[in-house]
């Protein structure tokens, strides 16, 4: 028992260090700019929340992007009505996402297994349709919700900044631009604001998985029927897990709007829901660190891959003879740039087929194999 407490504390400290030093660590990889760093933190929160549902209980939701989208819309509305201060926006986005997840969770959780997945997918698609066309007065439909000059902004002070801020501290401000080993690192207010919530989210998820509540959720994954014969009413536990993870998604959506005060229906599409699933399984579902790793991994490669165009490819393969160079470019071309989704889909399949434990699971078994404990277990 004491050893887990110790290792938990070490893991938390390690995580805090990783997050706070993020801009410096990523500088050599060309990843140290506010937009990407913020995405890391936002999707880290999203994936951690998703993992509370999927990783612990095994219930696969295909509709969590709907809560993220709802959070974004709620936050932008707060900017429109009150002021550019991010705090009320975040609070409302968590509440709105929570309310939506209570309703959707209540209905979807009447079923388990594949039915649950189908139902959440259907709900998410419905919410996408609602946001895209039905509720245009609220969501501004195709165009997306944004802030206009004639918005009321009742609480906007005369001298407070005209961009998202925390009591005057502007989110888009880069307060330090040092160089690390010849690479520029950008330390940005918005990133550290998100980082605070990422660390908080991580800490809460750690506490949950170490609690009796978390143990019940893991028992649901292993044998839900048995759990009910043990005197546990599984549905309220499931609903609680669903709502908690929905609120995480809402927080992520709110943070996203705080970094960039826009909200659009495409954030709610099934592809977006699929992405958070991929992040979680890529890193390792059910592990604490896995989902954050997965989120970082996907967002990093998305940023890198999307930037690669044919010109870049030609420069890569320039050392080859011309004919071969063109062939190589033609082969790689469908996977990069706009073809990033193809790579994503392939990655999805490869992970499910060959690495069901995700990166963390892979590292763990590799570690075991190296120390020889794995061989002893099998023998």
């Amino acid at each position: 028992m004491n050893s887990t407490t110790l290792s938990d504390r070490a893991l938390l400290l390690f995580f805090i260090f990783l997050v706070l030093a993020g801009p410096a660590i990523l500088a050599p990889f060309g990843g140290s700019y506010p937009d990407l760093l913020q995405k890391f933190a936002i999707f880290g929160v999203f994936a951690i929340g998703f993992n509370i549902l999927f990783g612990l209980t095994g219930y696969l939701s295909f509709g969590h992007a709907a809560f993220l989208g709802a959070g974004s819309y709620a936050a932008v509305w707060m900017f429109k009505l009150l002021s550019y201060n991010v705090l009320p926006a975040l609070i409302l986005s968590v509440i709105v996402a929570g309310l939506f997840s209570v309703v959707i969770g209540y209905i979807s959780l009447r079923r388990s297994g594949i039915y649950f997945s189908i139902l959440t997918l259907a709900f998410a698609q419905m919410m996408f349709n609602v946001a895209y066309s039905v509720a245009t007065p609220i969501t501004n439909g195709e165009t997306g919700l944004q802030i206009y000059n004639d918005d009321p902004q009742w609480l906007q002070g005369a001298d407070s900044p005209l961009t998202t801020n925390l009591f005057g501290l502007k989110m888009n401000e880069v307060f330090w631009r040092p160089e690390f080993l010849g690479f520029e690192a950008q330390f940005n207010v918005g990133y550290y604001f998100c980082a605070f919530f990422l660390i908080l989210a991580f800490y809460i998820s750690m506490r949950i998985s170490r609690s009796p509540f978390g143990m019940m959720l893991r028992a649901v994954k292993t044998n839900q029927t048995r759990l009910s014969f043990t005197g546990v009413s599984t549905r309220p536990y499931m609903l609680a897990a669903f709502v908690i993870s929905g609120m995480y998604a809402g927080l992520a959506g709110g943070l996203w709007a705080c970094m960039d005060p826009l909200a659009g229906a495409e954030r709610m599409q099934w592809t977006a829901s699929g992405e958070v699933v991929l992040m979680t399984i890529l890193g390792g579902a059910g592990t604490l660190l896995g989902p954050v790793l997965g989120a970082g991994f996907i967002k990093y490669f998305e940023a890198i891959f999307s930037k690669i165009n044919d010109q870049v490819l030609h420069s890569w393969f320039a050392f080859m003879p011309d004919g071969l160079e063109n062939v190589m470019v033609a082969i790689v071309h469908p996977f990069v740039g706009k073809g990033w989704h193809l790579t994503l889909g392939l990655l999805f399949m490869l992970i499910v087929i060959f690495l069901p434990g995700g990166l963390i699971g892979g590292i763990t078994s590799l570690g075991r194999w190296i120390t020889g404990r794995g061989r002893k277990d099998q023998g």
């Binding site: 999927f54 095994g58 696969l60 295909f62 209905i107 009447r110 079923r111 388990s112 297994g113 594949i114 039915y115 997945s117 189908i118 139902l119 997918l121 259907a122 709900f123 698609q125 419905m126 349709n129 609602v130 895209y132 066309s133 039905v134 509720a135 245009t136 029927t225 099934w270 592809t271 699929g274 699933v277 399984i281 469908p334 073809g339 989704h341 193809l342 994503l344 889909g345 392939l346 990655l347 999805f348 399949m349 499910v352 087929i353 069901p356």
Partner: protein, 347 residues
């Protein structure tokens, strides 16, 4: 009255597509116990079989005609499809009938894809958790649609029906309504008839062949059939291929109704899932019935009268979400779906 009839007709073509996809989904789920998230992609691939055949037929020889100029003033390049120059009128007719002909073209392709999918991928997931099955087919769906996008681009591609079926039929006159009260495009009628034929064929196949008997028994009780010593694996592969063909031909024939694009598969898949849930998971008649029912319902919801009514109670654009609302209500009132067996959806 005529307006209502018209909406019923309008709903039938979309309903047909839902029914055909849901039928395949139910077959696969019932026999293999796998929910195939890539089933919509099979529908989409079918549609692109038609596009491909159309493109192949229109491969043309190019000849510069120096006497004429195009609108930019350059010498006009005249294109003559090889089919036309080789076979004359027969060639033109073949091009015209490319969509129906694409059925023949698509069947072997869909069977092959179904075979490879089951043998190469799905088979290895029978014993894995449901979540893994969903995830891997979901990944496959993305891969398939991105491949199609890479080849055909992101825009819808028009694929016309044979000239004989262009235009509309004035059904109303036949049943005593005024002229032009109920008109209906010929091709949609063809699609509906085609869907009925396919559904009938599948049901007849399941009812009257030994193979079908085993499959039905397998849907009722998979373990027992396995114990009987029947080579169920092979049957599963064939079943999967059949479901793929059904989805594929549904896609082929749908192309003249809606120009195919790479994401049509997923759009239809989500709705087909809803259809399956409403019809009753594991029930083939339920899937078909719910498919048509929801198609018709959707078309009713898009009527102006209905829309205005729902707008007056603050639910605008009801047609966009009506299917989901129905699904929610069905689920709350009758959890096992319209025709689901007791116990199938209970847990």
């Amino acid at each position: 009255m005529d307006a209502i009839l018209l909406q019923v007709l309008n709903g039938l073509d979309k309903g047909s597509a839902y029914a055909l996809i849901a039928l395949g989904l139910t077959l696969i789920f019932g026999t293999l116990g796998v929910v195939n998230f890539a089933h919509g992609a099979l529908f989409m691939i079918g549609a692109f079989c038609a596009v491909t055949l159309n493109k192949i037929f229109s491969i043309s020889s190019e000849k510069v005609n120096p006497d004429k100029t195009d609108f930019l003033g350059n010498p006009l390049v005249e294109k003559t499809p090889y089919l036309e120059s080789w076979f004359g009128d027969t060639g033109i007719a073949i091009m015209d009938w490319s969509v129906p002909l694409a059925i023949l073209f698509s069947i072997p392709i869909m069977m092959f894809i179904g075979y490879v999918m089951e043998r190469g991928l799905i088979r290895h997931f029978y014993k894995r958790p449901h979540a893994d099955q969903i995830l891997v087919t979901f990944g496959l769906a993305i891969v398939l649609q991105e491949i199609v996008k890479a080849f055909y681009g992101a825009n819808p591609i028009q694929t016309p029906s044979p000239a004989a079926f262009v235009g509309t039929l004035d059904i109303g006159v036949y049943i005593g309504f005024a002229e032009n009260a109920i008109t209906y495009p010929y091709w949609r009628l063809v699609y509906f008839a085609f869907a009925c034929a396919v559904i009938f064929a599948v049901f007849a196949f399941l009812r009257f062949t030994t193979f079908g008997m085993v499959v039905r028994a397998g849907m009722a009780d998979r373990e027992t059939v396995g114990l009987l010593g029947i080579d169920i694996d092979k049957k599963f592969t064939i079943m999967f291929a059949i479901a793929a063909v059904v989805a594929g031909v549904a896609g082929v024939m749908y192309t003249p109704i809606n120009s195919p694009n790479y994401h049509m598969g997923m759009d239809f898949l989500v709705l087909s899932f809803v259809v399956v849930v409403v019809g009753g998971m594991g029930s083939l008649p339920g899937a078909v019935l719910a498919g048509f029912l929801l198609g018709v319902l959707e078309s009713f919801a898009s009527m102006n009268v209905v829309k205005q009514f729902f707008e007056s109670i603050f639910i605008p654009s009801i047609d966009q979400i009506v299917i989901y609302l129905v699904a929610v209500i069905v689920l709350l009132v009758r959890p096992r779906g319209l025709m689901g067996r007791k116990g199938v959806m209970e847990e």
